[in-house]
């Protein structure tokens, strides 16, 4: 069984542990504002991630303070908007997180699959 399948219908508390990887992955395709990040998370998960939308903001700020994201004010639809994008350190961190996730997934699949 894939761990990706285990994520189906996940609630916010469960998703929190994977938030960094999810946010970095979502921003790998280009810069987005907070609402755009949520939209992309929902779209990519097929609407199965269920978390309070506000939880992305502390996570985005934390990743920015860690130097993995950078952000800037823009203006769209008459509103000020903060857009985030990956830094080169963020891209390296994403690659590491992806490798870690793949190893974890393989390890769990090996154990669970053996039963």
């Amino acid at each position: 069984m894939s761990l990706c399948l285990a994520l189906l219908g996940m609630k916010g508390e469960t998703l929190k542990g994977h938030m960094d990887l999810l946010l970095l992955a979502v921003l790998a395709d280009g810069s987005l504002h907070g609402y755009g990040v949520i939209q992309r998370l929902v779209t990519r998960s097929g609407g199965r991630f269920d978390l309070p939308e506000g939880t992305v903001y502390p996570a985005l700020r934390r990743l920015e303070q860690a130097g993995l994201l950078q952000s800037a004010w823009t203006r769209a639809e008459g509103r000020r908007r903060r857009e985030y994008r990956l830094t080169s350190a963020g891209r390296r961190a994403l690659a590491r997180e992806r490798r870690g996730w793949a190893e974890f997934q393989d390890a769990v699949a090996a154990v669970v699959g053996a039963g």
């Binding site: 916010g12 810069s31 504002h33 907070g34 609402y35 949520i38 309070p52 939308e53 506000g54 939880t55 903001y57 502390p58 700020r61 934390r62 303070q65 950078q70 800037a72 004010w73 823009t74 203006r75 639809e77 509103r79 000020r80 908007r81 903060r82 857009e83 994008r85």
Partner: protein, 204 residues
Amino acid sequence: MTPIDTYLSSVRSLLRHHGPRSTRPVAELEDHLRSSAVQLQKMGLDPVRAEREAVARMGPPQPLATALDPILNQEAPMERIAKLVGALNLFTAGSGAILNVVAGASAHIMVGTVVLAGTVLVGAVAAWRRSTPPIVVLAAALALVALGGAAAMWTLAAGLFRGDPEYWATCLASTYMGQGVVLAALALRRADDAPSADPQASNF
């Protein structure tokens, strides 16, 4: 007040002790909520229901503010440097003033150090959080100046002060440097936290 305004007012109130630092998260939440409400209206909800739904999806304000607290409390390196140099500056101004009076150095240097110390004090007050009462900031600044004065008195009593012109040059240079760093830190923080006035502006 609309549901979005009420929500933003709650968040603003919960983060008010962070002073100007709360501007950015509130602005981001407002953009998010209004974008979400517009999207929900396109899906057929009336404006009020769309706002209520957008607010519900955001989650309660209290946990959000609690999660933002430690992040907003974290100081930028520039702010730490500004405070350190500002403190050294006040210390230097205190010692400079005493040495000028007791050791009889030229008056304009004393005036310069005191005036610049005042400028740095104002900068430091502006840089600190609004949650720090001004009286505490003032007391800390005066304590630093007094500490500098005490150090100068000790220097004189121990016979270590020689009235070297280079000493005064160092005092003035450090004072100017401190002022510059404090002002630069303030400018950087404003640029980072304040929403841009230029509709097309992007700092990427």
